[in-house]
């Protein structure tokens, strides 16, 4: 039921939200910006999981819930499933998405920052800046996963790993 919105509008809103929090609201405090973005993601995940688990039988254990996140939840959000799920069976899960939708537009070529590199100190390399800027965009999906899992009764901590773009891994550590 209801009306539909173009996907590019959603992508645009999310990119602008990250940019607004990083450059305007908390320009001098990137940690606070990151926390706020993650909190927004938490609330969104909380409400979305309520909607997507209607008419489903309850999950018997944590692995079932994580599999639901990988398959049904991810396909509702991004129209694809998580490509790879790894676990150590002791509360840590790694969800790998080989082409994460919200990172497909992020440039991975550090040579574009050559001008800034010459002006900055040697401690901040172009790769670092690019990685930092990209990681800001990942707090929102980490928050979504964390909100979804906590509403299912699984308190956890979620972090993201972008060693090879546009593939992206989310590491979920379930709190005992």
């Amino acid at each position: 039921m209801g009306r539909e919105v173009a996907e590019s509008c959603i992508d645009g809103v999310i990119i602008e939200m990250v940019s607004a929090y990083c450059k305007r609201f908390y320009a001098t405090k990137p940690e606070l910006a990151a926390r706020r973005i993650e909190a927004i993601g938490y609330q969104v995940g909380h409400q979305l999981i309520e909607r997507y688990t209607v008419e489903r039988p309850r999950f018997s254990d944590h692995l079932e819930a994580i599999k639901f996140i990988c398959k049904d939840f991810w396909s509702e959000l991004f129209k694809k499933q998580i490509d790879n799920l790894k676990t150590n069976h002791r509360g840590t899960f790694v969800l790998q998405d080989n082409r994460f939708r919200w990172l497909t537009r992020v440039s991975i070529d550090p040579s574009l920052d050559i001008n800034e590199a010459s002006l900055e100190s040697s401690a901040v390399t172009p790769e670092n800046k690019a990685a930092e800027a990209t990681s800001m965009h990942l707090y929102f999906p980490c928050g979504i996963i964390r909100g979804a899992l906590s509403n299912l009764g699984i308190p956890c901590a979620v972090s993201a790993d972008i060693s090879n773009l546009p593939a992206c891994s989310f590491v979920v550590r379930v709190k005992a």
Binding site: Q43, H46, Q47, I49, E50, R51, T53, V54, E55, R56, P57, R58, F59, S60, N151, L152, G153
Partner: protein
């Protein structure tokens, strides 16, 4: 007649409690809801049978008191819906469909960005939707619809010969005249049920026309 619905959060905190009685026993209903929470926990932690019903959301009847029956429903997010009803013979399917609609209304209420999870649901739209899903209260009316259908089915064999059919048409007419001479509330309930069941078109036409008082005039058209 559903007298009370409740939404309880996962820490057994009440999120929404609404009773629909004019009498003053709202507190008694709250007490009944509170006692049912123990039964919910018991059902979830000690499942009686394994297999397909192990992790279902619908928990079934929790316990009957002298006047009321309590039904429970547990969502994936550990939110419990409880429903107290005074009907003595509610069908399982009706309760399930009520809980399905209630769940949909709850999801919409919780998706409100201004709603704080864990606090009470203060949405008026949710309250209106919940009051709306109680109707049609499905116990009194399907019986009368069933009687109506049975009467017509019984009279169908008589339509073979002309004389016999004329007689039975008369009987049918008088029976139907009596059938729709009920009070307005029941009449409108029957209309709602027939519209919602959407398979008794004759019943719909009949009751609507009776409501407008031109039943006698158009009755013959249905049978020619």
């Amino acid at each position: 007649m559903i007298v009370c619905v409740a939404v309880i959060g996962h820490q057994n905190n009440p999120l929404y409690l609404q009773s629909f009685t004019e009498a003053d026993d709202a507190l008694k209903l709250h007490h009944i809801v509170h006692c049912s929470l123990d039964v919910v926990d018991e059902r979830v932690n000690n499942p009686k049978k394994s297999g397909p019903t192990l992790n279902e959301t619908f928990l079934g009847m929790l316990y009957p008191t002298e006047n009321y029956k309590v039904y429970g429903y547990l969502t994936n997010t550990k939110v419990k819906f409880l429903m107290v009803t005074t009907d003595l013979d509610v069908k399982d399917a009706d309760v399930r469909s009520f809980f399905r609609r209630f769940h949909a209304a709850y999801v919409d209420a919780v998706s409100n960005p201004f709603h704080v999870p864990g606090k009470k649901i203060t949405s008026k739209a949710f309250a209106e939707r919940v009051s709306g899903t109680r109707f049609p209260s499905p116990t009194a009316t399907p019986r009368s619809s069933l009687e109506y259908c049975r009467k017509h089915v019984d009279s169908a064999p008589y339509k073979s010969s002309d004389d016999a059919s004329k007689v039975s048409d008369e009987e049918l007419k008088t029976w139907e005249a009596e059938f729709v001479k009920v009070d307005q509330a029941t009449l409108f309930d029957v209309i709602l049920v027939s519209i919602s069941s959407s398979s008794l078109s004759l019943l719909v036409a009949l009751t609507t026309l009776s409501a407008y008082g031109i039943f006698q005039l158009l009755f013959s058209e249905f049978y020619c």
